[in-house]
Symmetry: C6
Subunit: 207 residues, 6 copies
């Protein structure tokens, strides 16, 4: 069923964790990078704070393009669409920041995201990971959906004492303070799809 | 009368199913692909969620252009107008996603849509079909309007138990989990109209 | 007085029929096609549904340009202004759709619209004519203003039983289901003004 | 004092008449045509109906450019600013339509507007003059401000019976049904300033 | 302290006078003209009427460019930023019109504004100075802040009878009816900074 | 933990001080300058006054580009993203003006900002530093977070008497009246990263 951990590693699709009034939820973030002219589209009933979080993730990715092996002009040669399914459900807050950045970088590099991993944390322009709320509910949701590893902000490490032991036995909790650590855990090393930059270069050659 | 199943297979016109407070409704989705410069117009009193659903259908189509035999630059060479008639009636929600994508792909490929088919399901950027609500009312509406086949999300399969037998005898219900299956059922194989890409190439040559 | 049937056939000016709380009204729709760069202007205190109706009429006209003898790039070479006078009176609803399309096509082809004709009907992207409300009040208004022929949606034909005999004797009611029929009745055959496409070509030559 | 009839004929400045809850008012409409790139600016706390009225006046002028001796591309080579002073006072309604068109055409042709004339009337795209309200209060305001001629819509002619004799003796009331008549009365024949089109040609030459 | 008369003549910074519920206030208006591409930025929590007033001042300046010795294309070659400090305080109304124009013309010509002068008055497109309210409170504020000369609209001359004698002895009140007079009083004759037009020409040469 | 003084000097990241109903707060302002085409993005749930403050800081920086050793066209060759983390917390007011300018100039010059310094003050277009509110609460927050030097507006110097002695012993308070003084204190002299202008020139060369 939709919302459970995927059966296979995916490119351009990462799993975040959301807090709602009726408990935690998993949140799939999909990114499509399409040959285009620099348009950024955000859909899925996102609130303003989440849209700004996506912009921060986008600028972080641009500022790190060279280190990540991404074409520095990817934002001009492509249109990027970030969508969070279950389009009737409103979503907001900054805690999907690192998930947005991970899905975007996966789509741009063609490297898949581990199917066993979920994550939560605000991102800053410099890639810092800031603390979030609702870790307990989010962890229970990750557990229910079958995830085996959860990345959380280092500043939330003390909140782990509230997580039930059964969940802590099933899930490996990894505190992170920078996007470098997030990508080290989340992205697989091999390239599964041609990265966006190369695809768009091919497009230009055949024009 | 308007709202009944068409007498002939149509290019660029697909039938969705909507839930309203007074019962189910059929929903005709019309797509015109016109030589132009990349404008996307959405009309028919669509709410924000349905507009985002159309954007997701649009990006899905762009990401699958090559496999579908569509010019990868169709979105730059054409203006696309998506209209849902009965313009005074407000429409919203994500459940027209697969219908929007089907009508668009039909208009772009010139392949007609089977006149006997109606459908309902949210679409994601990757073409996944997500569950919807109101299947019972939607099915009754499809039956009243004379449709013989209804595509529904695989995650809604269990809701079929609520459908009256008389409807289940008249309509073939087909659970789908990906747009590939939707198109396999909905699109006829022969090309009835010149696809948009070829039409616009002709335009350029005669300029 | 303004609002009565014109003394002469007009290019780019068609008469619709509106329903209001205090009875029916005639509605003059004026279209100016000016050499320009593709701007569409809608004025006259139009509500969102009527604006979308104008967009549908516009896209329908583009999709039929070749058959109508209109330059297929008219929307890029011209600015189009659609205005409904009596600018302080709010107007809304989809029932002016076929009138909007007729006035636009008249302005683009230079063919006049018969001075004796009024019309009402929603238009779809494919040129279908959908049913409207308030036929009785609209018919009385057309009668008062001196029109001799009224085009109405075929799906409203049964509503003719509510029209007083005196009106039915003075006005010829013509049910239509497609814009082709509307134009056959409304547009005169001879070209009174140079069509927009030719005018703009002249402009380019003299530059 | 501001608001009284000017001591000299002006180019690009016409006098309209407004109705307010506390009586009639004169309304100065100023137009500047500046070498530019096609921007239309409307200021003076104008409501939406008055802004649309200005757009109608603008399109009317474009459609009549050749007959008026105006460069047909004036709207692309210039920026046009229409301002109604006393910027803190809200203004709305369609009845300044013919005044807006007169001020614009004066600025574009360089022909002055007679200092003795005030006017009121809605304009349509085709230059028709439609009836307005509050003629009595407007006439009193024109009288107080010292105007000697008032142009009014022909459809308002019967409202002249409500105007006091003292006003009718001081002011010549001229019913008009088309902009051609308005311009015949309001515009002086000699060109006082170089018209906009020539000015912008000079600009291009000296570049 | 901020808000007092400056110790030196300034280029691109003029002093207006505002009326508030708790008395008069001086208002510094800063203008930066930067090599750019024609963007006009207005900041300082300005209400709509004050923004329109700034647009009128801008168009007036464009229409008088030649007489003022300003490059006629300054609005295309530069970005202009108009800011009114104390950014948390809302400001509105048309009475800063002549101050906005003076600060802009100073920045464009490089001529300083006399440090001893404050002013108040609405501006029209043709440079007329229209009357304002609150002259008494504004005069007291100018006095408190140390200004020696105040420009006021000629139509407000009679309001001078309400000003205390002590203020009238300290401040020279100068009624003005046109921007020409405002500039004659406010702008010093020598050029202190290179005017914007020359600066941007230099930029183009060194490109 | 996030919000404490950094362990190392940073380029493009400055610390402001905010007043809230529950006390003072430190505010990290991050700036990314990315090769681009002139887009300015502001995120972090900023209110309108703070956004205008960022625009004033931006224009100030442009007007001082030459003196600061910044490419005068930096705003056209780059996209600039200004973000204030803790994206769910609303931020407003003009008092971050000098911090915004400092972070921007640091990012553009590649010169780091001293890790020991926090600051507060409104900025004007000419670089003046205007007074702010809440100095006591802001100072306590700076103290708690470990800062050793606080820049404050000269017009707030008298408010220092309200600061507890313990804070005054730990923190050096520096009154400033112009951005020149702010930069003299805040920016380190050596260039740590290649400045934006050079980076974008390299980009152009390798194209
Ligand atoms: Ca869910
Ligand atoms: Ca790894
Ligand atoms: Ca229906
Ligand atoms: Ca098939
Ligand atoms: Ca009427
Ligand atoms: Ca015919
Ligand atoms: Ca007045
Ligand atoms: Ca004459
Ligand atoms: Ca003040
Ligand atoms: Ca002088
Ligand atoms: Ca904090
Ligand atoms: Ca230093």
């Amino acid at each position: 069923r939709y919302g459970l951990a995927e059966a296979e590693d995916q490119v351009g699709s990462a799993t975040g964790l959301a807090w709602t009034e009726v408990g935690g939820e998993t949140l799939t973030i999909e990114v499509s990078v399409l040959p285009g002219s620099g348009k950024l589209t955000l859909t899925g009933k996102l609130g303003d704070v989440m849209k700004e979080s996506a912009q921060a993730a986008f600028s972080y990715t641009r500022s790190r393009a060279e280190q990540l092996g991404i074409d520095g002009q990817f934002h001009e040669k492509n249109d990027v669409h970030i969508h969070i399914p279950e389009g009737a459900v409103p979503k907001d807050g900054p805690s999907a920041g690192i998930t947005l950045a991970t899905a975007l970088i996966s789509a741009l590099t063609g490297r898949a995201i581990s199917k066993d991993i979920a994550m939560t944390g605000e991102i800053t322009l410099r890639g810092r990971v800031l603390p979030i709320g609702g870790l307990k509910e989010k962890s229970l949701a990750a557990h229910r959906a079958g995830y085996k590893k959860v990345l959380l902000p280092a500043d939330n490490e003390r909140d782990l004492r509230d997580i039930p032991d059964s969940v802590k036995e099933a899930i490996q909790f990894v505190p992170v303070s920078h996007m470098d650590q997030v990508l080290e855990h989340a992205l697989l090393d091999e390239v599964m799809l041609p990265p966006a930059a190369e695809a768009s270069e091919i497009r230009i050659e055949t024009h």
